[in-house]
Symmetry: C2
Subunit: 341 residues, 2 copies
């Protein structure tokens, strides 16, 4: 357990490190932050903090740099969140209203705002198909082998893919379409899946061949639907062009990390489950070369069901007290917006 003073010093070190990016020496802390005590005292505390794993020294005559554990402690027990500036709030509502209508566009706009306001890269994962509300399905005969499935969500997102199978006439397909659209309004895709399976073994399906065919086509259609989530990363430039990126290898690592979207999705999915903003640090980034990066992320919701996530990604030394409220606010705005659709 840290004393008040210890916390003050750790906090000061982190603040200083966040703003300069350089290892922090005892002098600076005693001069700028803790004027009542001497550098020597600060050094004693620093030695303790290092022993606890919150700081480390790049080399013996350098100052201290906070470790991911140090940041973690700071986030949990020291930092106080700042209120989101009125200006940023209004900027967000203004832009979000503008793009209203096309959900994909709205989400992209949200991400773009995050990156511009935070000066970091931002990430958004589009709604998981399972949780999306079904509006309409269409089958379009392309040729004798291929049928196009177009799935529209209530929010107006379109998912499409091609299924292969026996040749069915467009007229017949239209009948299936009508049947499915009439029967499954207002369900999520997941619910629809379940319903289809249930109905398949019902009396009706056994005797009515149209119903049977329609259900079976519906099932294959939903099976084949793309399950890799789409993810957008915007504002990579601000990370790439960050002035404290001075080693070639570091940049290379980061560039590669951004290319590896699968890994980012996996990491983000972990935060999706429970509500609120999560900060992912150090090892949680699962990526060699991303140890000194971090993600601030949150799920966003529709009717309290998590459907996707969003966040920002940048160097571990970021101003969490500003960024966390930002991400939180954006998740809320987005969730509210989705509520209505």
């Amino acid at each position: 357990m840290l004393s008040i003073r210890d916390k003050g010093i750790l906090g000061a070190i982190i603040q200083e490190y966040v703003s300069t990016g350089e290892p922090v020496g005892s002098r600076i802390i005693a001069r700028k932050y803790m004027v009542t005590i001497s550098p020597a005292t600060v050094r004693n505390v620093m030695a303790d903090l290092e022993e606890m794993g919150f700081l480390y020294q790049p080399h013996v005559s350098a100052g201290r740099v906070p470790t991911p554990e140090g940041f973690r402690y700071y986030l949990n027990d020291i930092m106080e969140l700042k209120a989101l500036p009125r200006l940023e709030k209004s900027m967000i509502s203004r832009h979000m209203a503008k793009s209203l209508g096309d959900v994909r566009e709205t989400l992209r706009e949200a991400s773009s705002l995050l990156s511009r306001i935070s000066q970091n890269a931002s990430i958004i994962i589009m709604p998981k198909l399972d949780t999306v509300f079904f509006k309409r399905i269409d089958f379009i005969r392309l040729d004798e082998n291929r049928t196009l499935v177009v799935l529209v969500s209530k929010a107006g997102m379109v998912y499409n893919h091609i299924v292969y199978g026996e040749d069915v006439s467009q007229d017949q397909l239209n009948k299936y379409t009508n049947f499915l659209n009439d029967s499954y309004a207002d369900l999520t895709i997941q619910e629809m899946r379940d319903m289809l399976i249930k109905e398949m073994s019902s009396e009706r399906a056994k005797f009515d061949s149209l119903v049977h065919q329609a259900l079976s086509l519906g099932m294959t259609a939903l099976e084949g639907v793309e399950d890799r989530p789409d993810i957008y990363i915007q504002g990579k430039e601000s990370v790439y062009n960050s002035p404290d990126l001075v080693k070639l290898e570091r940049l290379r690592d980061i560039v590669n990390a951004f290319e590896d979207k699968g890994r980012i999705v996996r990491i983000l999915n972990r935060v999706l489950d429970d509500p609120g903003v999560k900060v992912l640090l150090g090892e949680e980034m699962e990526h060699i070369g991303m140890d000194d990066f971090s993600m601030v992320a949150s799920g966003y919701y529709r009717r309290n069901v998590p459907v996707g996530s969003l966040g920002i990604i940048g160097p571990i030394r970021m101003d969490y007290s500003r960024v966390i409220p930002l991400v939180g606010y954006m998740a809320k705005v987005l969730s509210d917006l989705l509520e209505d659709l």
Copy 2:
């Protein structure tokens, strides 16, 4: 005008530079490529070639490096294309057959193959909407303000967007849909646009309000359709991780250049017009920091109409005699494939 021997020397320098990436000295050329003449003679020629702008020296005691102009001359007047290896041809046909069906998937596969075979990044621009053959249009009422337009091409590509306007019932929308689908089969989007405008002032449109409404909705639908071309860049890693990328600033330039997709599209569009493979070098790359990069690109066609382009992008020192046939072959395979759809 260069003599045979001069060409031989320029060719040798480029070959050597392509394979090593290092400035080429007179010794190497005399030893490895032009055994009949001495280094001193080579030096004389090199001095001439430098004066002509085909070579330059990084510093006085270094060998020579070909300039973009040197490469240009080499490409036009010296290089001989190699036939595409049987192995690569069969690899291409095998993979392209696999992904047949979903055009977007096919195109992405083509690009992925380009990048894997050439060990460079590859670029593909999806078919321009204008040139795409219309299969079907659907209007889906999302709510009182928003109508979703789903446009399907004969090849099975789906384009969608939302239009805003007065509240029309789904039944009414279906009538419009049917009218448009019946009337405009087998046209390209561009032709359809023209037809719509023409029909709009016809007798029928004046007296039949359904026709009038349908035409007008069709026009707004086609107007709003997304006109920014989608572009995919694959295999960036092979460029990023290239071992002769040793300066941080260089990598940063390249990373930024890849992010700036608009510029790449603009450059590529220049090659789209006339057929065949084009090589873009130096200044043509329009990008500071991309001077020592180049693109080998070609349009691809459907019914002899250019619809998109594809190519590879990598360091200027690439083996053009292999890469040009590769890109050319891929463009041809793709064009043939699109012919059938």
